[in-house]
Symmetry: none
Subunit: 200 residues, 4 copies
Amino acid sequence: MNDKFFDLKKEKQDKMINGAMEVFARKGYKLASTDDMVKVAGVSKGLWFHYFGNKAGLYTFISDYCIKYLNMELTVSLMGERTEYFDILYKIEETKASIAKVYPFAPLMVQSMLEEDDDEIKEIAESKIKPYKDKVEEALSKVDETILKEGVSKDILDMTVGFTVKGIREEAYKKDEFDSVAYLEKIKEYFDMMKSVVFE
Amino acid sequence: MNDKFFDLKKEKQDKMINGAMEVFARKGYKLASTDDMVKVAGVSKGLWFHYFGNKAGLYTFISDYCIKYLNMELTVSLMGERTEYFDILYKIEETKASIAKVYPFAPLMVQSMLEEDDDEIKEIAESKIKPYKDKVEEALSKVDETILKEGVSKDILDMTVGFTVKGIREEAYKKDEFDSVAYLEKIKEYFDMMKSVVFE
Amino acid sequence: MNDKFFDLKKEKQDKMINGAMEVFARKGYKLASTDDMVKVAGVSKGLWFHYFGNKAGLYTFISDYCIKYLNMELTVSLMGERTEYFDILYKIEETKASIAKVYPFAPLMVQSMLEEDDDEIKEIAESKIKPYKDKVEEALSKVDETILKEGVSKDILDMTVGFTVKGIREEAYKKDEFDSVAYLEKIKEYFDMMKSVVFE
Amino acid sequence: MNDKFFDLKKEKQDKMINGAMEVFARKGYKLASTDDMVKVAGVSKGLWFHYFGNKAGLYTFISDYCIKYLNMELTVSLMGERTEYFDILYKIEETKASIAKVYPFAPLMVQSMLEEDDDEIKEIAESKIKPYKDKVEEALSKVDETILKEGVSKDILDMTVGFTVKGIREEAYKKDEFDSVAYLEKIKEYFDMMKSVVFE
DNA sequence: AATGAATGAGCCTTCATTCAT
DNA sequence: CATGAATGAAGGCTCATTCAT
């Protein structure tokens, strides 16, 4: 990419970042079209290529930026002593939701990266998401050996919580605009319910 | 579509149906390409258009066929007296899994229809999936007023179960071949765990 | 490339070969446009890519074909006992001119390959022209140790003859149609004159 | 063009002239890119357009300037009594070579103008080169009715000398830098040889 | 004056669709 | 009925040109 991108007014940078992130997150790499970005960001076709060379370069930048920003925020928000499973997960979602104030599609972008399966870009998506996965894993490693109720498996719990959070997030993005408050409320409701039934 | 399709040998019909279903289910409408179908079904490009007119026509047929077939099977398998929530859900998944023996990608196709968001086909996908949704709703309406534990909401339970089943299914399709036995085992494991914690 | 190209009617194959060769030979790799080829060959845009994948693939095929065809003809026409410098050179030009009856731009294509300097294709052009260069070198190696007049250097003679033949050829292609008879006449005139002044 | 160009420091004027001339001469009109000029001249993109309006305007200026400068020098250098064919031709090349000290690509530019075949600019190139052609013709008109050897035609001699000089020049520009001394030496060698064989 | 960010027309390439065989 | 050659509209990308600073 062309580093002069960072000399642009922050406002324009963010307009471009958000435009690209929206289209990539919503449609996936292959179906994301330059024309869509032109429409949502109001920035001409040529400019994307001026700064990012090609579509793959743009994706690389956006995914990298998204994860770097998120991990930076996570580093701060996960600093405390939280050692309870759902607390940590909630904190992570809270952090994503807070990022959405500046980059509304960042939470969806993260999801989208995990599911990207276009041959051209899959490996890049995987490598860029890695630091986030590591961060989450690290945070969860600090969870107390909580006592699960009889019949509750940690693996299955992880799985269902993962799928449910993903689902809630995707639903949240089907509305016209991502409502981070409503999103967190739903997450909380779900976590509270689960907490009450799976722990002793 | 051209009804002479049904004059073809059943074998060839199914080869075409499975080929189209695989590509549509895996990639979604827009990214499903004629060439992919030619490859997986070994049927020439022109033939798809001969029978189905165009891509939208083919999608319409496949999604219709898939749901009709599924609902027929569901009608049979849901006939009994089952009135327990997870029993019904399991029966539904079991039915899908059994269909996979003839139409390996049918379960994924159903999922894919629910998520289709291509402007050109969205409405068709929605209208075609409707009977299945109705069927499920109808089946679930017969559920006993089960007594949920304090703190457990029916809506949230529906939601998390829905997302988790979807997630398990998608994982199952990431392997080279869909293994319906392993799939059902995983579903059962999950249902058993949930059953044990949410009900009194 | 797609070998099914050779299943096309010879007539159509040649129409495409000639169309591509004309545009490549006249304009060089970079400036040769698909649209030009569509115009001169009357074959649709997509078809070139159907058979040759991309522009570089098309160039690779055309240059290879051109040289293989030329070398085959040269093998025949240079078979005899000719050992006189200008006789051999004339035979070579005569062969090129005869090829022009089937592939009117082949002689210019050969020239064009020698001068191609687009970064993307330069190496391919060089590698493809090599067999022709070798053939010419081999033919000239059989030249009698002719006695040159005092003051005449073999190297300079080679050089000026090379540049002049190239020049005559380029002039010949500035007309609407390449006239192989007129071309050979001019070459002969020039060779005769040179012969009469440089040899004892 | 904008005449304020001439108010620039001579140094900058020449940097721009040389930059444009290099790119036009080496690549031809169509393939000459603004970015190349920016690179070789170190002058910003906008400035070229500020002074010359568009690419055609720039080409018009450069070709005009090049020929005017050359003809001015030729007027001086051809002033004497030279009446021998190769002497005159050599003087012309010597003059071009001397210009190359200030405008290194001027000799190649002249050549390039003669071969320009882009539809947009061909006519301009032709009209701009005309005065140079006239000058050369005029100079050659003063040649003594030299007695050519039997079998040597004046027309063919003109032709081969023209093509050979062009060829030598092009070779000279394939090196990293144009070496005017080596160039003139090669020309001289060639002329000497020709002189010795074509005249009585 | 000077810069280079910004634009959009045009070219290469893909792919749904048509059609001759 | 079947095939796959053929087409052209649309998307990625380049580059001359414009324009705000």
